[in-house]
């Protein structure tokens, strides 16, 4: 990323030099000069590209750790919900059944609240109310986006668990595996594989959702672009640049997922 930007910088400086020697003429030349000036003004002057670079770092940091937290929460909530669906009928009344029912109740409240409110509102509540005493914006953003993502990941993984044939479960149990061991060794690996495209999509959504971090003053990629815009009073270059960077990341990530899926599929043929 840095090398691309620095070569772009060198290219721009070079262009600026040539332009000084040999002024262009005609409408194309004028447009070219205007764009070039705009580019220099937005990204080169005062090293303004650093806003994008640092913002990108924050975006990656928040997305990565939020995704980890989301998968962790998602798997647990999915296990609680699908265990409740599968086991509640055949369990004997008692402490365990009550406990599972209680956790299922909590999981449902979590899913309802998180999926029923906008992520930007959740982020602001986290920053201005729940963690009002903390000034660690990155950590608060990771928690807010991770907790948000967990709700969606939970439903994705639950649908994956439910899609596995009940015979797989019975085969595991009949060998002598307990409920949890059957889940861990037999059901979850197959479920994750089945929902990998949906999980990847959730990750892509998460990357883009972190663009609202600016609401709590966290300088992510989007906020970086917006700061440049507010300094230069020119919106075109910084905002298009921000959009292109997101686009490149998403395309790259989609490509990686396609490769991963193909590899997983090959392992069975």
């Amino acid at each position: 990323m840095t090398s691309i930007l620095s070569s772009a910088y060198a290219f721009a400086v070079n262009l600026a030099g040539e332009a000084a020697e040999q002024p262009s003429s005609g409408w194309f030349g004028n447009l070219w000069n205007a764009l070039k000036d705009d580019f220099v003004n937005n990204f080169i002057t005062q090293k303004r590209y650093m806003y994008l670079l640092k913002g990108l770092g924050i975006t990656f940091e928040v997305t990565f750790f939020a995704a980890l937290l989301g998968i962790f929460l998602g798997v647990i909530v999915a296990l609680v919900r699908s265990s409740h669906d599968k086991l509640a009928e055949e369990m004997r009344p008692g402490f365990l059944k009550g406990l599972l029912g209680f956790f299922n109740f909590l999981a449902n409240i979590y899913l309802t609240i998180i999926r029923g409110t906008p992520v930007v509102v959740q982020l602001m509540i986290a920053y201005f109310i729940i963690f009002a005493t903390s000034n660690n914006k990155v950590l608060v953003a990771i928690l807010a986006f991770g907790i948000n993502s967990g709700a969606y990941v939970a439903e994705i993984i639950r649908s994956g668990i439910m899609s596995i044939d009940v015979g797989q479960f019975e085969a595991g149990r009949s060998l002598g595996f307990g409920y949890i061991a059957t889940m861990v060794h037999i059901i979850i690996p197959q479920a994750i594989k089945n929902v990998l495209p949906a999980l990847a999509n959730e990750f892509i959504v998460l990357i883009k959702e972190t663009s609202v971090s600016g609401y709590v003053g966290l300088q992510d990629l989007t906020k970086g672009g917006d700061i440049i815009r507010s300094r230069t009073y020119s919106a075109f270059m910084p905002l298009i640049a921000v959009a292109l960077i997101y686009l490149v990341i998403v395309i790259f990530f989609s490509k990686m997922v396609t490769l991963l899926e193909r590899r997983l599929r090959n392992s069975e043929r």
Partner: protein, 250 residues
């Protein structure tokens, strides 16, 4: 019935399984003993409860009432560790239920390494010996989707055997197979019976029942209607429902 009988391994008393608050009686009072070395073949029309009966033996179905004892331990009791007991009861399913995300070798070593505490090498040696025994020694590194139905079912049988079970439960093991693959699976089951394995087998293969079974149970409407040696069942059936069933299937 055969003259000398081994010790009782599984004892079933007045087993009932009701659905829908008692409206549907899948099992309506089953009482029988499974002795060591027996090959018990359960036959009957579809919906007679024979699969439910078999699946109750290792508690894949939880009975509504009645008891099932394994070596004298009531397996329906809360105090019983059902996972430990299931290790002693191998089960083979109609639809094989191999684990599609694991190689054949991993399918066979998962249980022994995680549950019996075998080392990877020990488990693999044992699995390889079992695979060789059923003529699939060269498929250890294949995935289930690369195998035919008959091969899958043979793998499913040896996967269960890798746990060193005392009794093997077969739930219509040949019903999902193409006709030309039935033979290879039945051959493995015959070998197993000859080697003295205690078996309970729900099947529509009357030839197998006749040739290998030591006892045949005929079920209908959730009850045992008649049980006897294969010879008696097939040549001298008593109950009229059994007579009409045999007329249809033979």
């Amino acid at each position: 019935m055969s003259a000398e009988k081994g010790e009782v391994i599984i004892s079933v008393k007045d087993l009932k399984k009701h659905y829908g608050g008692g409206d549907i009686k899948a099992l309506d009072g089953i009482t029988t003993d499974i002795h060591k070395g027996e090959v018990v073949v359960v036959i009957g029309p579809s919906g007679s409860g024979k699969s439910t009966f078999l699946r109750s033996l290792n508690l894949l179905e939880r009975p509504t009432s009645g008891t099932i004892s394994f070596h004298g331990t009531d397996i329906t009791s809360k105090a019983t560790d059902i996972n430990k007991l299931r290790q002693k009861m191998g089960m083979v399913f109609q639809h094989f239920n191999l684990f599609p995300h694991l190689t054949i070798m991993k399918n066979m070593t998962l249980g022994p390494t995680k549950l019996l505490g075998l080392s990877k090498a020990e488990a693999e040696n044992k699995a390889q010996a079992l695979l060789d025994r059923v003529g699939l020694g060269d498929r250890a590194n294949s995935y289930p989707s690369q195998l035919s139905g008959g091969q899958k079912q043979r793998i499913a049988i040896v996967r269960a055997l890798a746990m060193d079970p005392e009794v093997m439960l077969f739930d219509e093991p040949t019903s999902a197979l193409d006709p030309e693959m039935v033979g290879e699976v039945l051959e493995v089951m015959k070998q197993l019976a000859k080697a003295g394995m205690t078996m309970v087998c729900v099947t529509h293969e009357m030839g197998f029942a006749r040739e290998v079974g030591t006892r045949v149970i005929f079920m209908d409407c959730g009850r045992i209607i008649e049980e006897n040696t294969p010879e008696q069942i097939f040549t001298n059936p008593q109950n009229e429902r059994l007579v009409s069933f045999l007329q249809k299937v033979l």
